[in-house]
């Protein structure tokens, strides 16, 4: 049952893509690709819901051997546990909604069918990655996801910026993938397998075979695999591709940021949870924490609505990494789930806003939303695709928040849904899912810091907390600038309008999904259990999930927090009794502290934002001039692009010049010298020899042959009968001779 369901989930999008491949390419255009792809995703979604009931309580593995190379057998298979099931739902749900949204958003695009085919392939790759039970399958899905992101980011490849962005995304993630591949190979050389689960899987072997002496090696492997996640999930050093990825169509951004591409990194890190060591966990936690804070600060000063959201995504991904690094496995995945929905909602909402403006921008008086070639160029421009030298001047007007304002009356549905998402991401307490997941992470990090019992690890918590506050600030800045206040650009404002039904319906669905009630349906402590971490001496168990146990189902109240903490305590004792002595005593207070602090910080952020951008009692401009250096730092995105440009690129160019010079002087010099010697000295001698001796011999031979041939050729008359006559006479003679002998 499960196998056939999973197969169906995988095959539906693949089939939709294959139909495009067979019909679409053959006929140049298969016009009903949109319905086909959407239907495929909806079927996959239905199957995912069916599957959700199937996996409780035990994980399942279905494996077949794929290829045998010598003594090593590579297998392919499905691994299905609660996390897989939830991921399947998240991916298929978000993907379905993106499909539906795209039917409105992309309508009229010249490559409309191709877009849906790519979406299908993208979904398939992500689903394949999610259900694979071995690193090889994950890697295949991983690279397919990368390929699809390349295709989709560069979907409007007529624009140079889009073409550059897709190349950048592809190459940047590839840097991480190299690390991941090395990590995989390290595991492979050690364990001779790439399967993760089961008796002969990496996890079981790592738990049973490794000693403390192997910890250094295992840490390196873990960090290397995490490198892949750094690339894919846009963690700190390799995050620069993600803002540029905004060059793709907005639904693609939603898909990449919510469900597929960036989630893959988090998912991989969560999957690798059992082999994370103390060191690698710390690395992950710090990378995540720094990313969360830095990206949040960059987001404050953006004016492009999609850039804000992009840096917000990076920041939130940092959160997730931080959670997993701090051992809060469930919290991290919970945040991944909730974030998927509200971030998809935010992106689709921004897409709706852009769409509204864009239609006006392109046609002025035309109600048709067509994206033909001419307006594809004016569409969603990038402010600085390469290095960020050029400042905000290139933000396309329909994405520039400075052109917006007061849209809440024009686009009520978009406004309300985006407001819900913003409240959720800002951590407004209790009725928004973001609060619960973010709170769980903060609590987990704080708890972990207490367990480590080292002062400087509190810095993680402080980073997370400040990031939470900043998130609330810049998200409300976005809302205030976009939907409140007076229209800044009256002409554009007049033309704006609510989006069509196919775009608002996904928004509404996602808005519902951003409420915690829905998420608790599947995300509860009884359902998701973190795997053991045998190599971690201080286990942290952040079961900070809203609790629905006891059959109450939707029972959810202001006291949910304490219940959740209690549930976490119980579950921790139940499932990890062996580590109980390591103490969960930090969790109770940790959770309370974290919650109180996070509510305070979020409130502060929202309040400041209100002061700055709505009440305008404080002036953003004066603050900017006061803290000019910091503002420049934020504005220039911590000079990452400049650093890459100035150091890495320059280094490469310098190296290339060096080699070119070496080639020009040394190599060419040797070659030329050899050539001169050969030509002037050897050639003269051999030339003379050739002319006199060799030619002499050849000419004599030719003359003799010519002379002889001239006589002999008369024998060959060309008349068959003569030949036959000679042959027969020869036969008779031969027989007579042998007879005589």
């Amino acid at each position: 049952m499960t196998v056939s369901l999973i197969s169906l989930i995988l095959l539906c999008p693949l089939a939709a893509f294959a139909v495009f491949g067979l019909l679409g390419l053959a006929n140049r255009r298969f016009p009903r690709q949109d319905y086909l792809s959407t239907a495929a995703m909806l079927i996959a979604l239905a199957c995912s819901f069916l599957l959700l009931r199937e996996v409780v309580p035990e994980p399942e593995t279905h494996t077949v051997n794929w290829v045998s190379l010598g003594s090593v057998t590579f297998s392919m298979g499905f691994y299905l546990d609660s996390v897989t099931a939830i991921m399947l739902i998240v991916v298929t749900l978000v993907s379905s909604l993106v499909h539906i949204f795209s039917m409105g958003y992309m309508h009229g695009d010249p490559r409309y069918p191709r877009f849906f085919a790519y979406l299908s392939l993208f979904s398939f790759s992500m689903l394949f990655l999610v259900v694979s039970d071995n690193l090889l399958g994950i890697y295949i899905g991983w690279e397919l996801v990368g390929l699809c992101s390349y295709l989709l980011i560069g979907f409007w490849f007529e624009k140079d910026s889009a073409a550059n962005a897709c190349k950048k995304a592809f190459l940047t993630t590839r840097v991480g993938d190299v690390g991941m591949f090395i990590g995989m190979m390290m595991l492979f050389t050690k364990f001779k397998t790439l399967s993760l689960y089961g008796e002969g899987g990496i996890f079981a072997l790592a738990a049973s075979q490794l000693t403390t002496g192997d910890m250094v090696w295992l840490s390196i492997a873990g960090v290397l695999i995490f490198c892949g996640a750094i690339g894919k999930s846009a963690q700190m050093p390799l995050h620069t591709w993600l803002p540029d990825a905004m060059e793709g169509p907005t639904p693609v951004s939603a898909l990449i940021h919510a469900a597929t591409m960036v989630a893959a990194g988090v998912y991989l890190t969560a999957r690798m949870f059992p082999i994370l060591t103390e060191t690698s966990s710390l690395v992950i936690a710090y990378v995540g924490g720094i990313t969360a804070l830095v990206a949040a600060t960059i987001a404050i000063v953006r004016f492009d609505i999609k850039r804000v959201l992009a840096y917000s995504t990076i920041s939130q991904l940092g959160y997730m990494m931080l959670a997993i690094g701090a051992g809060s496995y469930v919290a991290g995945l919970f945040h991944l789930t909730t974030h998927a929905f509200f971030k998809a909602l935010l992106f689709l909402g921004s897409g709706s806003v852009i769409h509204a403006f864009h239609a006006m921008h392109a046609h002025g008086h035309d109600d048709e939303h067509e994206h033909d070639d001419s307006d594809a160029h004016g569409h969603e421009h990038n402010e600085d695709s390469d290095s960020g030298h050029v400042l905000g001047s290139e933000i396309p007007p329909d994405q520039d928040m400075r052109n917006m304002g007061g849209l809440r009356h024009k686009m009520p549905i978009t406004f309300i849904t985006m407001l819900i998402a913003t409240l959720s991401i800002s951590g407004v307490p209790f009725i928004f899912s973001g609060f619960w997941s973010k709170d769980a992470i903060l609590a987990g990090v704080l708890g972990r810091a207490m367990e480590w019992n080292s002062v400087h690890h509190y810095i993680l918590f402080i980073m997370a907390l400040s990031a939470a506050g900043i998130t609330a600030f810049y998200m409300f800045r976005l809302i205030f600038m976009t939907f409140f206040g007076e229209p800044r650009n009256q002409e554009m404002h007049d033309m704006a309008h609510e989006s069509p039904l196919s775009m608002t319906v996904p928004l509404l669905i996602l808005a519902v999904l951003s409420l915690p009630v829905v998420n608790t349906l599947w995300f509860n402590a009884a359902y998701v259990k973190p795997p053991p971490q045998p190599h971690l001496h201080a286990p942290a168990h952040a079961y900070i999930a809203p609790d629905t146990k006891g059959g109450t189902g939707l029972a959810f109240s202001l006291f949910g927090v304490s219940e959740a903490v209690a549930a976490e305590e119980n579950a921790g004792h139940d499932t990890h009794g062996t580590h109980a002595d390591d103490g969960h005593h930090g969790h109770g207070p940790a959770h309370t502290i974290a919650m109180v602090l996070s509510i305070c910080v979020a409130g502060l952020g929202i309040f400041l934002s209100w002061l700055f951008y709505h009440r305008r009692t404080l002036s953003a401009e004066s603050v900017t001039t006061t803290f000019r250096p910091i503002y420049d730092l934020f504005w220039h995105k911590y000079y990452f692009d400049e650093f890459y440009d100035g150091v890495l690129v320059a280094l490469t160019v310098w190296k290339a010049r060096l080699f070119a010079q070496f080639d020009g002087t040394v190599v060419d010099g040797i070659v030329n010298g050899v050539g001169v010697v050969t030509r002037d000295i050897l050639a003269a001698f051999t030339g003379a020899f050739d002319n006199r001796v060799v030619d002499g011999i050849v000419n004599r031979v030719a003359q003799v042959t010519w002379a002889v041939g001239g006589r002999i050729r008369r024998i060959q008359t060309g008349a068959i009968q003569t030949y036959l006559f000679v042959v027969l006479a020869g036969i008779v003679l031969l027989i007579l001779i042998f007879r005589a002998l």
Binding site: Q721, F725, L728, A729, I731, V732, I735, L736
Partner: protein, 172 residues
């Protein structure tokens, strides 16, 4: 040897074969040569009858007389005007060729006369069963199946090849 009706007829066929074959190689008119060849082929068919190879005899008549000879006559009609029907022979060629052929004939006669295994093989007159069924068995259900198939493929290839060679060149 007892001179019976059968031997009389046999010698009749032998004489017919040899004499007409001689005509084939000596007659100057190529059409006459072709019709002489027809008589030779009939003679050989008759000899096959004496060898109790009835199917072979009929095949000989059908394929040679009905097929190959018609083909040859068509060739003659298509390539030779009436004036060219006479075959040109050079005297020197005639002498040389005759000498070689004669030497070859002598050689063959010596071999025929001196090979011990071939001596005293006399037709005892016993009637053999009809051969058609046996030939069918051997060809389609016996050791000659593969050669049969190969020969049929060869025939097909020859047909196609002949059609290809002889058609007028299509120039575009």
């Amino acid at each position: 040897m007892e001179f019976t009706l059968k031997t009389f007829i046999f010698y009749g066929f032998a004489l017919m074969t040899v004499a007409s074959a001689l005509l084939v190689v000596t007659v100057r008119n190529i059409v006459h040569a072709a019709f002489s060849l027809m008589v030779t082929l009939f003679g050989v068919a008759g000899l096959y009858v004496f060898l109790q190879a009835d199917f072979l005899a009929a095949t000989q008549v059908i394929v040679y007389v009905g097929g190959i000879l018609v083909l040859i006559l068509f060739g003659v009609m298509m390539t030779s005007g009436r004036l060219e029907m006479r075959i040109h022979i050079e005297r020197g060629q005639l002498l040389l060729g005759g000498a070689v052929a004669l030497a070859l004939f002598m050689l063959l006669l010596t071999v025929i006369a001196n090979t011990p295994a071939w001596k005293n093989r006399i037709d005892d007159g016993t009637a053999l069963p009809p051969t058609t069924e046996k030939i069918g068995e051997l060809i389609l259900n016996g050791p000659f199946l593969l050669p049969f198939e190969v020969v049929s493929v060869l025939l097909l290839v020859a047909l196609i090849g002949a059609a290809l060679i002889s058609r007028k060149e299509v120039r575009d």
